[in-house]
């Protein structure tokens, strides 16, 4: 990896009561690349995302974004600094149109005051027009969702809702885009579309991508860098090829095949 890291996670531990969701997790996300976090269910991937975006506060460790520490920075400010994300179970503003949902992505960046907005003059009008142009031309055309821009998000198919969520994240002018299972539950064609969009976001927009994904085919195809999490710990990281050949990763996914290994592990953990 030649690029410098835009996100550095170092020694992050997170526990809910007695459950250790993350245990001394450290890794870096190189700028301008696609980094995938993989691991079995319950490995702590979503907890890691929620910690990075500021929804959870870790008990120890620190996270640096673009050279600055995120300690004590709350989720809305992290969003304003360029950390955008999507959710595993789609989180769109139901009852609003696709366009309104996407426009809300810009909320953190708008400076219009109440009075400006109330009378819709000056700055408010200018800002609104600029925003509309940018969203129409760049985001909506790019993601090929012109035909549904005025539809209510609740009426859309799952695949399209995921795409609208991505559009909203792009409207946030992200420096890093965090995608939590962007293709979960999609069919082959939808998965390929989404993979293409993710690659285009990286290449055309120059946005760094950090994603959690279970679709190994897609992860291995498009990622530059893979981090493997198991039981809240990083067990491997490297290029897709390196990770695929790693014994610990194979054991985490498939079991080691060695019956004695489980007995040894139980004994070791009891000690």
């Amino acid at each position: 990896m030649t690029a410098s890291p835009i996100l550095e996670v170092s020694g992050v531990s997170l526990a809910f009561g007695g459950v250790r969701a993350l245990n001394d997790v450290s890794f870096t996300v190189p700028e301008g690349a696609i980094t995938a976090v993989i691991g079995p269910n319950g490995a702590g991937k979503t907890s890691l995302f929620n910690t990075i975006s500021g929804f959870y506060r870790p008990q120890s460790g620190s996270i640096r974004f673009a050279g600055e520490s995120l300690d004590g920075v709350r989720a809305p400010q992290r969003a304003a600094r360029g950390l955008a994300r999507t959710f595993q179970n789609i989180a769109l503003f139901r009852g609003m149109t696709v366009l309104d949902n996407i426009k809300l992505g810009r909320h953190a960046h708008m400076r219009t005051g109440v009075l400006d907005a109330l009378f819709y003059w000056g700055r408010a009008q200018k800002e609104e027009l600029e925003l509309r142009a940018e969203i129409e031309e760049r985001i909506i055309d790019f993601l090929e969702i012109q035909h549904i821009r005025n539809a209510s998000v609740g009426t859309l198919s799952y695949g399209l809702q995921k795409r609208v969520e991505l559009a909203r994240a792009l409207a946030m002018r992200p420096r890093i885009l965090m995608l939590d299972e962007p293709v979960a539950g999609m069919n082959r064609e939808e998965t390929e579309d989404m993979a293409r969009f993710i690659l285009d976001v990286k290449e055309e927009w120059g946005v760094t991508i950090l994603m959690v994904e279970h679709d190994m085919g897609m992860v291995m195809d498009i990622s530059d860098h893979v981090v493997v999490l198991n039981f809240g710990q990083v067990i491997a990281s490297g290029t897709p090829r390196e990770v695929q050949g790693n014994d610990a990763v194979v054991a985490a996914y498939l079991g080691s095949g060695d019956v004695g290994a489980i007995a040894r592990r139980i004994k070791a953990e009891a000690a």
Binding site: F93, L118, G154
Partner: protein
């Protein structure tokens, strides 16, 4: 039928309805932002009346100074309640939070009784008492002023929610808190502001209602009528509170005038039952669609 009488009853009904609507807005604001059904809103309204009495009669301030102070006191109480009682309950079952607000209502009623006694009290007169005639129909001046004040405040709220970023933040928070938080909306601040605005509004409504009918520690039951209003209008709709408030005010006044006072509540709750059968989410409430 005597049309003049009908007109006067209608006007009085709309006047009462405007105050229902105003208090309904307070209800809706809190529900929309935090999904909390705040049953203490009636008691906060009552406290607004007593705060006004305290500032105006107790401290001898001018009523025009006491009014904003009473409203500010309501807002401060809203802030305190949200921070101290509601936020720690985040993630608890809605019924638990609902019970907390019932408890809060009892405590507020008790505090007022300790401080001012259980007897009804009158607020100092501060509104002009020139009779108001609309056409030939007479309208009590206080009711007219209450109506205008409520209309202005509700209109302001509607405009604010429609056109300001705060309104957008409120709408987004109501739709999905996680998503709102992730796009940079400060959700806890939305909660806080919603409680402050709602309780300040309720306190202001309390002064208006107290000026018309006097204040007493049992005034909080007004909150129950308002609960009917917002359920009819839709718990999360400001416009619904407006329409529901005027409707209930009107229906109560007409039922009281033509069927007799004992029919007021019967008619209101019959209306509620029928409406809930036809539109369980209220006239303007969000229809929750569950997709499986």
């Amino acid at each position: 039928m005597d049309t003049l009488f009908l007109a006067e009853v209608t006007l009085a009904g709309l006047g009462a309805g405007a105050l229902y609507a105003l208090t309904g807005v307070a209800f809706v604001l809190i529900y929309k932002a935090t999904r909390v059904v705040n049953l203490a809103i009636g008691e906060i309204l009552m406290l607004g009346g007593y705060a006004f009495l305290g500032f105006a009669a107790g401290l001898g301030l001018s009523p025009w100074l006491a009014l904003p102070l009473a409203i500010a006191a309501g807002g401060a109480l809203g802030w305190l309640v949200e921070r101290a009682l509601i936020r720690p309950m985040l993630g608890e079952s809605p019924i638990s939070v609902f019970m907390v607000t019932i408890g809060l209502g009892s405590i507020l009623a008790g505090v007022v009784q300790l401080g001012w006694g259980a007897d009804p009290l009158r607020l100092p007169e501060f509104m002009p008492s020139t009779p108001v005639f609309i056409g030939e129909a007479y309208l009590a001046p206080k009711v007219a002023i209450g109506f205008v004040a409520a209309a202005v405040v509700i209109g302001l709220f509607l405009a604010l929610f429609r056109f300001s970023r705060g309104g957008v933040a409120l709408k987004a928070t109501a739709a999905d808190q996680g998503a709102a938080y992730s796009v940079g909306i400060d959700v806890p601040r939305v909660f806080s502001v919603a409680w402050i605005l709602a309780c300040a509004t309720a306190a202001g409504a309390g002064v208006l209602i107290g000026a018309i009918g006097g204040i007493s520690p049992t005034m909080g039951v007004f909150g129950l009528s308002v609960l009917v209003v917002v359920i009819i209008g839709g718990l999360d709709s400001i416009a619904g509170a407006l329409v529901g408030g005027l409707l209930i005010g009107l229906v109560e006044a007409l039922a009281g005038a033509f069927l007799g006072g004992e029919f007021k509540l019967v008619v209101t709750f019959a209306l509620l039952l029928v409406l809930l059968m036809v539109r369980p989410y209220g006239l303007f409430g969000t229809h929750e669609i569950e997709r499986l």
